[in-house]
């Protein structure tokens, strides 16, 4: 419509494919890695994959709501990064480890 640029030549399926690959990498990292910091970065990766999908569809459908969602996700991600890193620091101070499998005292 007005103000937004016309769709360029790249088809949307490419964006979605890239997004899916990024997301899958994030999931794989989340499941496989044991270092909390890496796991945390994988979560960020998944969020960004989703952001890419939002942007792609917003461009495709000529609507801003997708872009607004992306901002929301970025804000949440920033907040999460602050809280998450604080938690990770505290865990490390108390346990002197960042191995995610050793942080299981709530069990039993």
């Amino acid at each position: 419509m007005n103000g937004l640029p016309v769709p360029n030549g790249v088809p949307i399926s490419w964006f979605l494919l890239l997004s899916a690959v990024l997301f899958a990498l994030g999931v794989a990292g989340f499941i496989i890695r044991r270092n909390i910091l890496t796991v945390f970065m994988c979560i960020e990766l998944m969020l960004n994959a989703v952001n890419l999908t939002f942007i792609a569809f917003a461009n495709q459908h000529r609507q801003v709501s997708g872009q607004i969602f992306t901002f929301f996700v970025m804000v949440v991600a920033a907040a999460e990064a602050a809280v998450g890193l604080a938690i990770i620091l505290t865990v490390f101070k108390n346990r002197e480890t960042l191995n995610i499998d050793e942080v299981n005292t709530l069990r039993n």
Binding site: V27, I31, V39, I100, D101, N104, L106, R107
Partner: protein, 616 residues
Amino acid sequence: MTQNLWIIPILPFLGFLVNGIFGRKLPKMIVSLVAVVSVLLSFGWVMKVYLTAGDLAANPVTEHYFTWIRSGAFNVGWDYTVDKLTMIMLMIVTGIGSLIHIYSVGYMEHEGGYYRFFAYLNLFMFFMLNLVLAANYLLLFLGWEGVGLCSYLLVGFYIVKHSATTAGNKAFIVNRIGDFGFSLAMFLIVVNFGTLDFGHVFAAAPGRPTGTLTAIALLLLLGATGKSAQIPLYVWLPDAMEGPTPVSALIHAATMVTAGVYMCTRSAVIFTHAPAAMETVAIIGLVTAAFAATIGLAQNDIKKVYAYSTISQLGYMFLGVGVGAFSAGIWHLMTHAFFKALLFLGAGSVIHACHGEQDMRHMGGLRKYAPITFYTLCCASLAIAGIPPFAGFWSKDAILAASYAHAPWMYWIGTITAGMTAFYVWRAMFMTFFGEYRGHGHPHESPVSMWGPLAVLAALSVVGGFLFNVPKILNSMFPIEEAAEVPWLVYVSVLAGVLGIGLAAYMYVVNLDLPERITKAIGGLYTLVYNKYFIDEVYDATVVHPLVEGSRSVLWRGVDQGFIDGIVNGVGQESKAVGGVLRLMQSGNIRSYATWVVLGSVALVIALGIAGGVSR
């Protein structure tokens, strides 16, 4: 002019409050003063009402204080009424109550829980006065239940004694059965009359169907058999003797147990229009009188003898009510209150003299040690034996004459019972006061606060019968029936009394080994009577045991533990089992959770794909 009838019951109630709340801290002197004076003032107010109220027969005093229950058209007020019947009851209750309060001051002097005793006694007076003053059935029932409560509290007064507390429970529980009947009777009255006021009910009663009135009367009778210890609910009264002796005298001889007789007399209109119920009352009274008298023959505990005697005499009153001689029944109620209160207070004095011994086999010869008790008890024993001109003669003779007019066989059984009465009462006299002292320690006469009331009651037992001619006083309420005078009746019943006394004297003074030989000769029969016909055991086996066992094995172990607990515990067990399975999924490994999430999302996406996407 208002008579302020409310002052009569409120005075003892105030005494109860003062002694009940502050009694523990007050000296004994003050406690007894409060208790005795409150009842004396109450007696004084009764006298004041009697002197100023004018002709109670023509103008009964009725006072309305406030509406207690209002439900649609149904109203129950806090109303008191005084007519001649109430006035007689008021005088008996407050008069004898005052004497027994004074007596208790001496009797209870060395007992623990002094203030508690007088608080309960005052509370009893309040409820009893409420019972006789009430102008409707519900207010009467309030007093009725209240005196039952006080009876329970006072029977179990010696709270550390197991037998006393069980006796209290027994009195209370047996009375529940009677009260159940009374409640049903009240419900029937409400359904049929729409009110519980005596005035309205009795005005409307004559026009109602006989069947309804019979049902009401029989249910009221069930209530009366509980409170007044008649067959089949008499079993609590002998056990109630576990209480202190003044309590036995006041509650379980003179006042509370006569409440049933009073209630039946009050409901005379209902009873007279239900002939079948009247006949039942007469037969229950007669059978109880004879039955209890035979048990009295073989008892050795002095209070037990008098307890069975009370049941027997109450039977006479019901006989009087049942044959239509209501005023004769009330007359006997009054004279019985005199001489039976005296017998019990005398027994208390005897027990006091013998240092707590109640078994007559360990007494004897007390005539020398406690002369005043002896002479006063003589008056009472002559009165209950029906020897003229003592009080009991007049009233018992009136009842027997009325029963002869009703059915001669009732008269004969009543007369034989009178002979037995004379025998067992004088047997008790001879065993306690004659011969040699067989107990331990040194018996002594009681203090003046104890023998003073004895003397007053003795005087009443002598002159009370002809001085207060109740049938004449109540003539306006219950006209004396002009039965054909049968002159020899009097001689026969007096002869029965004299024979009873003579036989007792022969067996227990002259020929001392005769009772032993008679006991041996009749063996089994004696055992039967001595053990009160095993009625307690029979009730225990047929009613108490099945109830207790049924409650224990069926209701408790079966229904409660098996069924209800089973449901509750079962739900808990099942939840735990399900949780145990689900728990396996919670590995605590964050990466396994993530895997589950991924697998779940993949499954969702596949499911969506199969279903053909999201439709709007």
